[in-house]
Amino acid sequence: MSITVLKAGLQTTLQGAPFTGHRYLGMPAAGAADSLSLALANFLVGKSLDAIAIEITITDALFQINEPCSIAVVGAAEHVRINGHAVRQHRTLKVMAGDKIDIGPSRPGCRTYVAISGEINADRLLGGQSTYLAAALGGFRGRALRKDDVISLTPDSPVTDVERITPQNLKLHYSDDLVLRIIRGPEAANTHAGALTDLCLGPYAVGTRANRMGLALEGAPLSASNSTNMPSAAVFPGTIQLPPSGQPYLLGPDAQTTGGYPRIAQVIRADRHLIGQLGSGSRVQFVQTTTERATKIYREKLSLLSSWLGQIKLW
């Protein structure tokens, strides 16, 4: 069983669960940039919520299905077509050998997930299969998919008899204007408290330096300390760093594990999946909350989602 890539687009990779437990060795999380869209897509084809799927970024992509299977599309794509006919996202789609799946460009938003009922044969390492591009590890030979690549599926992958439609109230609204809730980072506790307050004043635009590693934010410059003497310390996806330029930098799923810039803020776990929908030109407004509220928001979000998806984890 297999799927052929007819048009790969800007950056299409195999992504599922992030790598965990290896940051102390310098191994980043990688994994789906938008863990919620991935989970919704995987559920529609009866897969585990963090199974490997195809992550498509910004531009359109085209695939040919080589054996009958079920697929589901969830994300920012403005259209989905099978053999030229428009179909809907958020539902199980039965496809036949030879069917061509056209995923439209992301508009608005940035990423779209195509889940497949078959098990994708992705490279396996450190307990995961997601693609980590910078070190060419995992996924499809460690790299983004190209035209004519053939994604192989485990031969005896059963055609799922699951047929589902995401409930209306759980469908995500994709937008180029997002609000992200943040909490104070370690270096905002004393030295950079002012920068944190100012970060929440106006919206920031995502600059052209925008990829899975991080997003350069453009807006009113924040007062950064001139000192570059901060000893390197751990950072995580969703950490907002403040380089000497005063332009904040928001870390993504592929972010390195340690950094030497002040960590002024952290996007709360409940909102972190939205970072995957930010692309160059998006605008983001930060709103400060507390760690106590962040925990509550995350648990309430999981509780809401679990009514449909069962036990779920976001990252």
């Binding site: 965990t20 437990g21 290896h22 940051r23 102390y24 060795l25 310098g26 191994m27 980043p28 390492l125 450190l126 980590y132 910078a134 070190a135 060419a136 590890l137 909490i183 104070r184 980072g185 370690p186 506790a189 000893p231 390197s232 310390a233 751990a234 995580f236 390195q256 594990t257 340690t258 950094g259 960590r263 952290q266 709360i268 776990r269 760690t291 106590e292 962040a294 925990t295 995350y298 648990r299 999981l302 984890k313």
Partner: protein
């Protein structure tokens, strides 16, 4: 508890603790790793961060559990520092910045390998890329400026130096540290049970090898 009160900062799914020095960081890492409560335990140069599942622990619960585990850390001594010898070829073809570095150090370029090999270094931290090692030497050394224009491609195994700090690139990547040589050793192999060749706290000694030896270095031999 340690004599110096550590600074604790809680985010919603990770906690950062500032510690007095790298020995305290290693002791904390050892103590915390003995439990399976934590998603990630990441040493920094003078801090450690612990990531947890916020569905299981509130930040307060995690912080108090961490404090309990660190209380026991002072009784754990981790002086099992491993000495690893790293072969390095200082040939000009593999060391594009050796003239620049020798000039900054005020030594002849021919003396660079023995100067570098004479300095014992400690792995301060892994980061940047899987297995990428930051090293620190206890001896004084003039600061060496980073490259004005970072390279698009630094080859895996390259040794960079900016003075007391040096680094070993684990994968081909962009980079701005002046390069004085390259090791044929593979720093990160995900297929191995211990994927990273080096760990924070290890001591490293460099050993000069010829270009011939570098080119014919057996690839799957472990130290």
């Amino acid at each position: 508890m340690a004599d110096e009160q550590p600074t604790i900062h809680s985010c919603d799914d990770w906690i950062s603790i500032t510690l007095p020095d790298w020995k305290a960081v290693l002791a904390a890492q050892a103590a915390l790793s003995a439990n399976d409560h934590w998603t990630e335990i990441v040493p920094g140069l003078d801090s450690i961060a612990i990531q947890f599942d916020p569905a299981l622990f509130s930040p307060d619960e995690a912080a108090s559990l961490i404090a309990d585990q660190l209380d026991r850390a002072v009784h754990t001594t981790t002086n099992l520092s491993i000495l690893t010898t790293i072969p390095v070829c200082y040939d000009a073809k593999l060391a594009p910045d050796r003239d620049y570095v020798a000039r900054e150090l005020g030594i002849a370029v021919e003396a660079l390998p023995s100067w570098h090999a004479s300095r014992q270094q400690r792995i301060a931290m892994l980061g940047f890329m899987p297995g990428f090692a930051y090293l620190e030497s206890a001896e004084t050394c003039p600061a060496i400026g980073r490259l004005a224009n970072p390279r698009q491609l630094v080859k895996a195994g390259s040794i960079g130096i900016i003075g007391r700090q040096s680094c070993i690139y684990s994968f081909d990547s962009p980079g701005g540290w002046p390069i004085i040589g390259r090791t044929p050793l593979r720093l990160f192999d995900p297929a191995k049970s211990q994927p990273a060749l080096l760990s924070a706290g290890d001591t490293v000694r460099f050993e000069s090898i010829s270009k011939e030896a570098f080119d014919h270095w057996p690839q799957e031999v472990e130290e």
